[in-house]
Assembly symmetry: C2
Homo-oligomer: 320 residues x 2
Amino acid sequence: MELRRLRTFVAVAELGTVSKAALRLRITQPALSRQIMDLQQELRLRLFDRVGRRLVLTAEGEQFLGHCRSVLAHVDALGERAEVLRRGDTGVLKVAAPPHTIESILSMFLPRYAELFPNVHVKLNEALGREQTAMLERGEVHIGIRHDQGDRRFESRVLPPDEVLAACAPSLELGHSAVIDIGRLASYPLLLLDQGYSIRRLFDAACRLTDVEPNILLESRAPHTLLALAEAGQGVAIIPSLLRTDRYTLRIVRVTHRRKPIRERFAIQWDKRRPMPPYAESFCEALAKYMREVLPITHPTESKMAAARKRPAVRKSRTH
Amino acid sequence: MELRRLRTFVAVAELGTVSKAALRLRITQPALSRQIMDLQQELRLRLFDRVGRRLVLTAEGEQFLGHCRSVLAHVDALGERAEVLRRGDTGVLKVAAPPHTIESILSMFLPRYAELFPNVHVKLNEALGREQTAMLERGEVHIGIRHDQGDRRFESRVLPPDEVLAACAPSLELGHSAVIDIGRLASYPLLLLDQGYSIRRLFDAACRLTDVEPNILLESRAPHTLLALAEAGQGVAIIPSLLRTDRYTLRIVRVTHRRKPIRERFAIQWDKRRPMPPYAESFCEALAKYMREVLPITHPTESKMAAARKRPAVRKSRTH
DNA sequence: AGCCTCTTATGCTCATCAGGCATACATTGA
DNA sequence: TCAATGTATGCCTGATGAGCATAAGAGGCT
């Protein structure tokens, strides 16, 4: 079933004679005659009756003409689709991100982005660490929002860094400073995220460096479990600053190692071998801008009120 | 935009490598490689990224894949359509018929036919005489229901004959027989159909043969006008026996010439040069059968009651 | 009827192009 | 580093489709 033949058929049916169709299609009449014959043979269906010196459609031909027109319209539309895809402002963008990032950042960011780029359809995948790496490598997602661990397989776009915070009930005695050194945490029962979270691995690494043996009360995949327990005074939750804590009443302190905050680079990454779709560029741009505006989501408590005055919408909103 | 390329693209996208697609499509890998390259060049769009030894779809490629699948499905459906058309029990049948035939015959026949052949879609065209001939020749209709005038351009399928009747108010003095000779009609004011109706031309011819000069009160295209006037006692309507008169109170007599009814062959005709679609055969068959059952629609009055007892459904129905 | 015009059908030739083959090149895993 | 797997490319060939020339069919006009 060749499109050329179908187009020829349509032209002949419309113009009533092979000769006129030949003029329109800019090829010779014998070529067209043969195409029509071939098509009829292929379909095993008479499409035309010879009436005097004209060809008129048989009943079947008339039906078939309709179908042909529709198919050709679809094919032509294909060209236009390619045109649209080439422009690069339309498409599906598959994004992998850790659950808490989706909650704290993307839930607010996506509606804003959708307004700017209504033709980009973002598809989210919850994925962390190695699992996310695998998805990027298998090509299941276009970009991943993740801690940048210097993996050479990935191209990066830097985002504002994440850092390690400790959260506990206000009643808990944890010193009065906005910071706590990692060594001093050893004495508290700790509420940790599981090893899938790179903030956890970062914390573990810092513990090893300081030669601290942490007292682990709970290891969980669910950050909210930690927050709820911490609020209930059950221990100190070690969390990333990207986690939203505004629904809980907690005292937040920055965890330091040798007086410096424990930070990790945060980035959008993608497989080096797979260039991002063009519209992904705008996504990166917009997300970086947004994060610079709103980060850190969670501040050490002392600066909390000041920050709240600056960014009330993000800190107090309960709409998402 | 060649279908072969699209199919190749879909196969490669599905199987992940050109080599596997080559196995499935039974052509060599270099040929496929080239097809993919050509397609990308034609669309000016990267469809795949090389990732190690595999090809993975770009975001655009993924979008395009969806469109391709849909187009190919449509194309394949085209083959199935041809298959259905080849079977010959499905299609559109365009029929031309005189208005009164549509009213008296087809209005009852079509629902019945539609039950037998639900996949044949009948399209009616009201057309008479020369106009109908022109439609048949131009190929605008497949078959015409008409008086058979021996035209060599048409193939015929004979239907029960039509005949000339006279209709008048029961009060009018028109003799007591079920027949009236054409000569005796000259003295009455006549209500005639116009020259477009072949029954009118038949009547005129009979008049000339008998050397009768008819007294024409009205010449109309609308049979019902004649019937209404006749019922009101304004004259004698000359009508074909195919006309329904059951909504009027009329005395009906057969018009004769030399004691013989004035009849005309009635037939389904079609352009010799255009073979009928296969399903038209069944239409002819069914229509002929139906007409043998119900004709004549209008009988001379004397036999009316007897006939009514035989075919009450057709004669008394007012549902159409 | 005969001629002219318009149109389609067919035989032949030629050019184009797609596919096959051989092979180079790239990636991956042992 | 080698074997295995896969892709790209150069070259060749054969199938196919288009053009040309022409025959043949149909309609219209004188």
